[in-house]
């Protein structure tokens, strides 16, 4: 099978993210592979291990943004492509999906393209479905369980009401949720291999497309209003007394 995993590099989830003078800062927090994309790489590796084939990871970003790619290579991906182009900064999700769909087409013969459910920075969660739509492939999103038989892929989708079991003929786009199971840690050998790997960089010219036009603008990013709460510590001579006071205070808030 020819498998692709699309990954993004983001500030670590523990980062304290703030806006100063209209720009977003995350201090000295490391840039890492988007946590949900680790599940995409894991699912891709398991599929490859079971059915044979190759796994290529694709990432869109600046030329220095290789941490996410290195992590995926260290987990066991065969190779990687970084799509970097000055025209790619500040693109909206529709535009990123166009770039990814073009890359998947250029790679050619891809059976499954895996994605994480969403990125923890922009929190959009649109790219998997949009890339599928542009490729005219079915999108099996929010997959918790995946199986492949002959040319059909079947997933259990994690939806509000439980799980929806959906199947489709490949090629298909699959996005992953955390229920899939823990992603593996990179092995020592994998880390060494990733450190030495030469990652080809594709420009938009390589993809044969012109710069997509963003239709979504984000003119202003702000820090959320601070919660001006003063925590009232409830004390008492016994748990029962504390609980009684607390219950009365909560009832007085009229939130029940």
């Amino acid at each position: 099978m020819k498998i692709v995993a699309c990954i993004k590099q983001v500030p670590d989830s523990a980062a304290k993210v703030v806006v100063e003078n209209g720009r977003v800062f995350w201090g000295d927090a490391p840039l890492v592979i988007n946590p949900w994309d680790e599940f995409a790489v894991e699912a891709a590796l398991q599929l490859k291990e079971k059915h044979g084939g190759t796994l290529t990871v694709i990432s869109v970003g600046g030329e220095n943004e290789k941490e996410a790619i290195k992590h995926a290579l260290a987990m066991g991906a065969d190779d990687a492509i970084l799509i970097a182009d000055p025209a790619l900064s500040g693109l909206d999700t529709q535009s990123i999906a166009q770039v990814l769909a073009s890359a998947i087409q250029k790679i050619g013969g891809v059976d499954v393209a895996f994605f994480g459910r969403q990125a923890i920075d922009s929190d959009s969660g649109l790219t998997p479905a949009q890339t599928a739509r542009l490729l005219n492939w079915p999108a099996l999103t929010l997959a918790a369980v995946i199986s492949v038989e002959a040319d059909t892929i079947k997933v259990d989708r994690a939806i509000e009401e439980g799980r929806q079991v959906v199947s489709a003929k490949m090629p298909a786009v699959v996005s992953l949720v955390k229920d899939y199971g823990e992603p593996r840690y990179p092995s020592f050998m994998g880390i060494r291999k990733a450190a030495r790997a030469e990652v080809p960089v594709w420009s938009l010219a390589n993809l044969g497309i012109s710069a997509p036009t963003s239709v979504i603008a984000w003119p202003e990013i702000t820090n959320p209003p601070s919660r001006n709460v003063v925590c009232e510590i409830i004390t008492g001579s016994s748990p029962e007394e504390i609980a009684a006071t607390l219950a009365d205070k909560i009832l007085a808030e009229k939130v029940l």
Partner: protein
């Protein structure tokens, strides 16, 4: 402004956020409810009672189960013909996906999971949390229709008017069964309980719920099994309080990663972002990822044995103490006060 609102439902049961989206659309002018499914005409009646000026209903066997391609194709085909200024959808798993695909078809953009909407001239300006709410972003869309998904519980439910009715237009789905690439093979149901996203009250547990020193675990368990056993006893207390309050059960990532409860309970940056009226955090220290997922809750209550736990910085009420004593006492206090 002419706004369409996609009414998301599961087997004819509307998601509450669908009506909130309808109310938000109504504030901007005329609103058309769009309903897809099979045997779902009852939803049209509900849409009128919630304020819809018009309902477009595609009731068809190919729409019996939600499938991304079939539903988004139908929406984009209808919208291409009628050119609404905006399309609103609730931010549900289905709503987000239909919005994503319809935007590609209609060559426009999506503003996702928004918590506020204002109108400037003939454009919508939304506010949406990014980085799980660590920041807020204002967004606009230069093309039409402006597709927006609205976060549940961020907009008020419209007042209903019993018996209110208006124009119902029946429409056909865009795709035939032969053209739809995916097949729905069935469903497995979730564990019973209140859904986190819709919950107005959430009672959560963290790693602290496994630390009850008063318990003696049964023999024959290894270290990990003992920890899980302890956590289950702790979460039983969380669930009892939740049951008395009609609340959903939440958990920190630490508790989920340790195997205490399933991922569907996780609140935080890589779990669910929630905004209930009341959030009671038990044995949760308040890592930044967790706070990001619940900090907009109206009233936050924290029970923790560590005075310095960051959770107290966002809490309105705190108890520094042993949750294994406080929780049962709180459950009893509410039982008495709520007459349960």
């Amino acid at each position: 402004m002419k706004t369409w609102v996609y009414i998301d439902h599961f087997k004819g049961q509307a998601m509450p956020a669908s009506w909130e989206a309808l109310g938000a659309g109504k504030n901007l002018g005329t609103v058309t409810a769009v309903i897809f499914g099979q045997n779902v005409e009852a939803l049209a009646k509900e849409a009128f009672e919630n304020g819809a000026d018009e309902v477009l209903l595609a009731d068809d066997v190919t729409l019996a189960d939600y499938r991304a391609e079939a539903f988004s194709s139908s929406l984009s085909k209808l919208a291409a013909a009628a050119s609404p200024d905006a399309i609103f959808l609730p931010t549900t798993t289905r709503g987000r996906e239909i919005a994503a695909m319809a935007a590609i078809d209609l060559k426009t953009g999506v503003m996702v999971d928004v918590t506020a909407i204002e109108v400037q001239g003939d454009s919508i300006v939304v506010t949406r949390p990014i980085y799980a709410g660590k920041l807020l972003s204002k967004e606009t869309c230069s093309t039409r229709p402006q597709i927006v998904t609205l976060r549940g519980r961020a907009f008020p439910k419209p007042a209903t008017q019993a018996g209110r009715t208006s124009t119902l237009t029946k429409v056909s789905p865009a795709m035939s069964e032969a053209d739809i690439k995916s097949k729905v093979e069935g469903y497995t149901t979730a564990e019973a309980g209140v859904s986190l996203i819709d919950a107005s009250v959430i009672v959560s547990g963290g790693r602290g719920v496994s630390n009850n020193p008063a318990l003696t675990p049964p023999g024959g368990l290894d270290e990990k099994q003992t920890e899980i056993w302890r956590a289950q006893q702790g979460f039983a207390l969380v669930k009892e309080l939740a049951s008395v309050l009609g609340a959903a059960v939440g958990a920190s990532r630490a508790a989920v990663d340790a195997g205490y409860v399933t991922y569907s309970h996780q609140v935080g940056q890589t779990g669910k972002v929630v905004s209930p009226d009341l959030y009671i955090a038990n044995g949760i220290s308040g890592a930044i990822q967790h706070l990001a997922g619940m900090r907009t809750s109206k009233v936050i209550v924290a029970v923790n044995k560590d005075t310095d736990a960051p959770i107290f910085k966002v809490a309105r009420y705190g108890v520094v103490g042993d949750l294994f004593q406080i929780l049962p006492a709180l459950t009893a206090a509410f039982k008495q006060r709520l007459g349960k």
